[in-house]
């Protein structure tokens, strides 16, 4: 790649990443600086590329489930759900009521874990050591619940087509409630050092601004769009699973800066906790967790295509799936929110940003490198 640079004498070229404690993962930002101010920046990826979409074309439907969850490491379940939902739609499987609720539970738990982690990341990016320590612990408590429910800590591989793989363990609801209370108990402390802290507000307010005009141009979603006052949420706009039966609000904010985006997350944590409580309460007690599924080795799905979407903590995730009557998918395209955020939007936001604000901005939009490259 050749990059035209008319100010080459006046600018410092700097690579932020891939080996850098500040980037959100294994990715790189190439920036040109004058002083501390970024003139331009380019996102470089490919460091985490594994070719998931290609790998899936070589795997039977059931075999794709262990790999899709690796697409987004902090929030794997959305991927599992989307693949399962696409295959079920194309293959004509209806999942039982209990599975619907269990899937909603898992999706919301993973959103919660991811949101909590992002709050910590946003605070840590500005140099606050305490918040990430707490939030990682809180996330770990949620991971404990995941482990109990799904048998896996980070990668759950819990949903497959037909439903989910195991029922709730005995006493899960109580232990989940205890975890939720721990999160709620910690939130005021987080507020004190972040949203109420003068220094943190100075660091984040009016920084990393987004422009509402970009929404249509780039397809922004998630906290980034809600921070500009647009109440867009896939859970509300295109309801799926049990979300229509749940009471929750779509949080919006104005300002379009880091503060607004982090504030949305903080309130979404509360909403998410509310949703999980409702799910645990409304979930049917009995019933099968999975529909009978065709032979996993030989099942073929007739020709078809579909786009299924869901709300991840980062925005809209979608799977565009094409089948051709064989026992493998013909093509899967994974639409991750981070892709839009990390390339188009981030590169526009870099212009005029202080180098010190680069990392908080990246965390707040947010970007998840494995999802960007798949």
């Amino acid at each position: 790649m050749t990059i035209e640079n008319p100010h080459v004498e006046k600018e410092t070229q700097l690579w932020v990443g891939p080996q850098h404690p500040g980037v959100t993962g294994n990715m790189a930002i190439q920036v040109w600086l004058t002083g501390d101010t970024i003139q331009r920046g380019i996102t470089h990826v490919g460091y985490l590329h594994r070719g998931f979409e290609k790998l899936m074309e070589r795997r039977k439907f059931i075999q794709s489930f262990p790999i899709v969850c690796r697409i987004c490491v902090p929030e794997p379940d959305t991927n599992e759900y989307l693949l399962a939902a696409s295959i079920e739609e194309l293959g004509g499987i209806t999942i039982p009521e209990k599975a619907v609720w269990l899937r909603t539970l898992v999706l919301e738990m993973s959103r919660l874990a991811s949101l909590v982690q992002q709050i910590g990341g946003g605070a840590g990016a500005t140099g606050l050591g305490a918040v990430p320590n707490w939030t990682y612990t809180l996330r770990d408590y949620i991971l404990d619940s995941f482990e109990e429910l799904t048998g896996g800590r980070v990668y759950h591989m819990y949903m497959v087509y037909g439903g989910v793989r195991r029922d709730l363990p005995v006493g899960f609801a109580e232990r989940m409630e205890a975890t939720l209370r721990k999160i709620e108990e910690r939130l005021p402390y987080i507020d004190k050092v972040t949203f109420q802290s003068s220094v943190w507000r100075e660091r984040t307010q009016g920084v990393g601004l987004t422009d509402p005009a970009w929404v249509k141009e780039m397809g922004i979603s998630g906290p980034a769009i809600r921070a500009m006052g647009f109440a867009r949420d896939v859970r509300r706009d295109f309801p799926y699973l049990a979300y229509p039966e749940l009471d929750f609000s779509v949080i919006t904010s104005t300002g379009g800066d880091i503060y607004a985006r982090m504030e949305i997350r903080r309130h979404e944590v509360v909403e998410s906790i509310k949703i999980i409580r409702q799910v645990l309460q409304k979930m049917p007690k009995d019933g099968p967790v999975a529909a009978p599924i065709p032979n996993v080795f030989t099942w073929r799905i007739p020709t078809g295509q579909t786009y299924v979407r869901a709300e991840a903590s980062r925005g809209e995730m979608g799977y565009y799936t094409v089948t051709d009557g064989s026992d493998k998918v013909r093509r899967v395209h994974v639409r991750g929110a981070s892709y839009v955020h990390g390339f188009a939007m981030a590169e526009r936001m870099f212009e005029g940003l202080n180098i010190a604000d680069l990392h908080p901005t990246l965390v707040s939009i947010p970007t998840c490198p494995p999802e960007m490259e798949r």
């Binding site: 700097l14 404690p21 500040g22 002083g35 501390d36 140099g127 707490w134 660091r203 010190a356």
Partner: protein, 302 residues
């Protein structure tokens, strides 16, 4: 002969200061860890880190200036320590405070940062000039309230000698400049936040922006030297503040306690705040703290 004895005593003093600096650093890490909900490293971890860094082989060099950086930095710390009295009224603890005054000490303070900037820049890593630039600009900013506070004290006492400034507060804690010159003390203690390089003024080597600023290219023995310098630098600064505002110390124990307490002020702030950008921290120091300093000077003069 007396000079030789003084050199011996001061050398021991430097070693004690380094040890105490490392220990305090360990306690600080432990305190940070507790706030973060952790157990934290053992308090002696600083010593192990130091030892380990000495036992790491140095691979690279970027020319003589590169070696100079850590040396200057450490020299700055040792310099401050040597020219202020650690323990007033006890010859071994007085160091060479008879030989230098406050201006020399402040020069040493500047000396370390400058050395770091020069040495680091020889490494050629882009993080270094950015960090050094930040460090120097931030230093010019926090020097303003600090110097104003010092001017206020000097104007009142009429001497640039730290020794004299300390002796002037000798009549019990009511005589301490902390109470007699509250505005000067406020300005100086706010400036101290910047001097110590803890949050919110640690943008110089911010690990997740420009890891770790001027020190990016340093390793092994260099880091160990820098660590030693940092330990003594921190302690020397605290002793300076103790001498200027808390009436100095008359015994080793008193010195330890006072140094620790002053240190904790910086830590208390650092643990709960994120870091300012460099423009913000400059704006901060040149705002209220500078104004307080001006008020202190005015009060001292009239």
């Amino acid at each position: 002969m007396e000079l030789l004895l003084q050199i011996l005593w001061s050398s021991i003093g430097v070693l004690i200061a380094v040890a105490y600096g490392l220990l305090t650093g360990g306690i600080v890490r432990k305190l940070f860890a507790r706030i973060q909900g952790r157990v934290g490293p053992p308090v002696y971890q600083g010593f192990i880190d130091l030892g380990k860094n000495f036992f790491v082989r140095d691979n690279i060099s970027h020319g003589p200036m590169f070696y100079f950086g850590p040396a200057l930095r450490t020299a700055g710390g040792v310099g401050i320590f040597l020219f202020i009295p650690a323990i007033v009224g006890w010859a071994p603890g007085e160091n060479f405070s008879f030989a230098g005054d406050l201006l020399l000490v402040m020069y040493f303070m500047f000396f370390g940062s400058l050395g770091m900037a020069l040495g680091g820049s020889a490494g050629g890593h882009p993080h270094t000039p950015i960090g050094a630039g930040r460090g120097l600009s931030q230093m010019t900013a926090f020097e303003v309230p600090f110097i104003l506070a010092v001017i206020a004290l000097v104007a009142d006492t009429g001497s640039f000698s730290v020794h004299d400034l300390t002796l002037a507060q000798a009549g019990g804690f009511l005589e301490w400049n902390l109470l007699t010159h509250p505005f000067a003390a406020a300005a100086a203690f706010i400036a101290m936040l910047g001097m110590n390089g803890y949050a919110p003024f640690n943008v110089v080597g911010a690990p997740n922006e420009i890891p770790v600023g001027p020190m990016t290219e340093y390793q092994g023995g260099f880091i160990a030297t820098l660590g030693t310098g940092r330990a003594i630098f921190a302690i020397a600064k605290m002793i300076l503040f103790m001498d200027l505002f808390l009436g100095g110390a008359t015994s080793i124990l008193e010195a330890f306690i006072k140094v620790f307490v002053i240190y904790m002020w910086s830590v208390a702030v650092a643990a709960v705040f994120p870091r300012y950008r460099v423009d913000q921290s400059m704006r901060f120091f040149l705002g209220w703290p500078a104004l307080i300093g001006v008020v202190a000077v005015l009060l001292a003069l009239f």
